[in-house]
Symmetry: C2
């Protein structure tokens, strides 16, 4: 087994977002630092951020609600961008639910400002000098949305433990953005919003 080198650790503070740039073959490990925290993850082609990881194109390829270990995530142009390479968490991740945004919090009754994964995404991209005209449907790591046979979805607290991690390998050069979901009105984040970490791994 090859030795793994942590090239970079980026802590994503609770309610915030961060971006990392990775090259094909590098791995991105998302760590739940305190447990029970959902992360909204987005990926964009480095050369053209108009191309992005797409949940619906990924499902067309894998015929699963979420890829299994070893399976790819595809872009909206059906090119593999990430592969799921390992997962030490209980295995709950979601690819059905849109990123939270100001309209979501307004509908939940929030008056005034509230951090959101959509704003975290665009702010993180702007930090790299990038813009995207869309907010793609994210990969919601550690988010527990079981689907009943009737088609009903339930919104349950994340059960990832402190230190649990899910790791992706970049298939192409890409920008990966992670938002530590600030949702505190729907109980998906076990004990309220907490930080995550992004480790960029090589070797």
């Amino acid at each position: 087994m090859k030795p793994t080198t942590v090239e970079e650790r980026v802590v994503v503070p609770a309610r915030e977002g961060r971006a990392v740039t990775v090259t094909a073959g590098q791995r991105v490990r998302v760590v739940d630092l305190e447990g029970g925290q959902v992360g909204d993850l987005f990926a964009f082609a480095a050369g053209d951020p108009a191309e992005h990881l797409s949940a619906s194109h990924t499902r067309s390829r894998t015929s699963r609600l979420f890829p299994a270990v070893g399976e790819p995530f595809l872009t909206d142009r059906r090119r593999p961008i990430l592969t799921l390479v390992s997962d030490t968490s209980p295995g709950w991740h979601d690819m059905l639910i849109a990123a939270c945004d100001p309209a979501r919090y307004a509908a939940l009754g929030v008056r005034g400002a509230h951090a959101s994964c959509a704003e975290n995404l665009h702010r993180s991209l702007a930090g790299l000098g990038l813009t995207s005209g869309v907010t793609p449907q994210p990969v919601n790591v550690f988010m527990r949305i079981p689907v009943q046979e009737s088609g009903e979805l339930r919104w349950l607290p994340a059960v990832s433990r402190a230190g649990d991690a899910i790791t992706f390998e970049a298939v192409m050069d890409c920008v990966v953005v992670l938002s530590a979901c600030p949702q505190d009105l729907v109980g998906i984040n076990g004990n309220g919003p907490s930080p995550l970490a992004i480790d960029v791994l090589s070797g």
Copy 2:
């Protein structure tokens, strides 16, 4: 009960797409003319086609894989655009799978041209002088993609019968595009691609 008037019938030939413009309060009825045919349906705000029906925002609102009768479809700005008002089919519809496109057919081994729902969408919009920078995830009427508890999806032939119909009410002025899915390599269209109809209803 109010009398229903068919204001306009647009036949969507097999493998093709058509667009209709509807005003808030009008209804759009999609009819499977011969049975066993999937339709990829898209909806855009009339005033700004950058705003479109979004599967992931709809699921966030309804907590279901597909809305029940009486429930709304939301745009990417979380505004209701259509409401599901009636369904005479066996009730199978999909909101998980991306529209087929040239990359999908290339991956299935097609050499040369093959009609696709993505191209039908953009061609239909162009016919109204409109463009969209994205191909939103469609509402796949009559498409039978059961989800197992394990998260696995199955691709089964549509079981809609000749004359079965699903009807939506426009909540805002919008453009509705329907593509009679040309998929003939994966067996989702019972007896191969066949036509659909769009009825615009008032009253």
